[in-house]
Amino acid sequence: MAWHLECTINGSAVERDVPEDVTLLSFLRDHLGLTGTKGACLEGECGSCTVLLDDEPACSCLVLAAQVHGRRVTTVEGLAHGDRLATVQEKFVETGAAQCGYCTPGLLMAAKALLERNPDAGEQELRVALEGNICRCTGYASIVEAVQLAAREGNP
């Protein structure tokens, strides 16, 4: 059966009938074509599918689309303003914080949530905020550096 979903995605109101057992990850990618959000482990270990639900990071692979009824969803597509990248994205580019890039959207969302919540987060808090995201190209140093640079600049 279908669920009549009403929610906000990247600032726009979305109204769709969705199958009841479709995950938010699949809804974003397969129904809305928002393929920036990546799926990998599908069990909450890798963080590559991270989106923000009302400003809090969540694994979109472990949430049913129907469960975000009435809520605000932000995906990596919602970070940039037109052609202008968000600060945190710019800093990822600047420090070369991506190799294969598959983990990047999830890391950007986790970092964005942290910097919105606490722009003055120290390195320890920053590492905890990113602990749910795995980068298998082992680029953590440049990722941490990118988020620190974004923090320094403000306006993540």
């Binding site: 059966m1 669920w3 009841e20 057992d21 995950t23 599908l42 069990e43 909450g44 270990e45 963080g47 991270t50 639900l53 809090e56 990071p57 969540a58 694994c59 692979c61 472990l62 949430v63 049913l64 129907a66 469960q67 009824h69 009435g70 986790a110 949530a113 905890v128 905020a129 602990e131 749910g132 995201n133 795995i134």
Partner: protein
């Protein structure tokens, strides 16, 4: 059919009506892993994440009352050390933002970090039914056998009560796993001590259910935690637990770590108690 009630009363009515045919869903951090692996959620799903006040925390006569939908992120900010540390050790931020304490108790994994911490805190669970009302049950009596609990098919977990958290003299939590985050317990353990000297000790991942180490607690009694007593308690805990071999660790390793963690917990509790004295 997908049910998304806005009130807990409605959720209870649906559960009472459909019983075992409806699957309660909260944060989804366990159930949807199954769905992604091809296990259906069933014909009927009861989503509790739309119940507005299911994430509330209240106090009553010195007790702390957690509604079932309180997330691990919220627990991590509590002032009760063993529970906050246990909550911080669960998954990553994404999991802690979604996973709920009622979900942890209902799933009843032997490795449930929240379960072990709440056992040490002598917590009680409120189980509710639409017409029969609510009953409180000691968490120690709630876990029956592997992933079997006292929760009936037509009931839901409404609240968890932590008695007198402000009176606690000291609590402590340790977890052994493969890495520092997103880490399922190989062994986890919690201890709590009240002003009368009573000490509760609980373990996860070393028996079919999260367990209180009651024999070890009896041995410890209410007296001073001497090094001699701590050593005896560690030996007792190692014989009391019932671990198995699995791909995360061997039973022998788990048993040995119960001894190690008992020593660490009791020394931590002793240091904290002395600090307060």
């Amino acid at each position: 059919m997908f049910h998304r009630p806005a009130t807990f009363a409605k959720a209870l009515a649906i559960k009472a009506d459909l019983g075992g045919r409806v699957t309660p869903l909260a944060g989804g951090t366990d159930l949807i892993v199954g769905l992604n692996r091809g296990t259906s959620l069933g014909e009927e799903v009861l989503d509790l994440s739309g119940v507005a006040d299911y994430g509330d925390i209240d106090t009553e006569n010195g007790s702390l009352l957690l509604r079932g939908g309180v997330t691990f992120a919220r627990l991590a900010r509590l002032d009760i050390r063993c529970l906050a540390d246990a909550a911080r050790s669960v998954g990553g931020p994404q999991i802690r933002n979604r996973g709920t304490i009622a979900g942890n108790l209902a799933t009843a994994s032997p490795a449930g970090d929240g379960s072990a911490a709440l056992l040490a805190l002598d917590a009680e669970v409120e189980i509710s039914h639409a017409t029969r009302g609510a009953r409180w049950i000691k968490l120690a009596d709630y876990f029956l056998e592997y992933r079997k609990t006292a929760l009936g098919d037509d009931e839901l977990i409404s609240r968890i009560r932590i008695p007198a958290p402000d009176a606690l003299e000291a609590t402590a939590w340790y977890k052994i796993g493969k890495r520092g985050a997103v880490n399922i317990s190989v062994v986890c353990a919690a201890a709590a001590r009240w002003p009368d000297g009573r000490l509760c000790l609980a373990f996860g991942s070393v028996a079919p259910v999260p367990m209180r180490a009651t024999e070890t607690e009896r041995l410890i009694g209410t007296g001073p935690l001497t090094e001699e007593l701590i050593h005896q308690a560690a030996q007792c805990a190692m014989t009391e637990v019932r671990p198995i071999d699995d791909w995360r660790a061997s039973a022998d390793y788990r048993r040995a770590m119960c001894g190690v963690l008992t020593r660490r917990l009791l020394r931590a509790v002793r240091a904290d108690s002395e600090g307060k004295g």
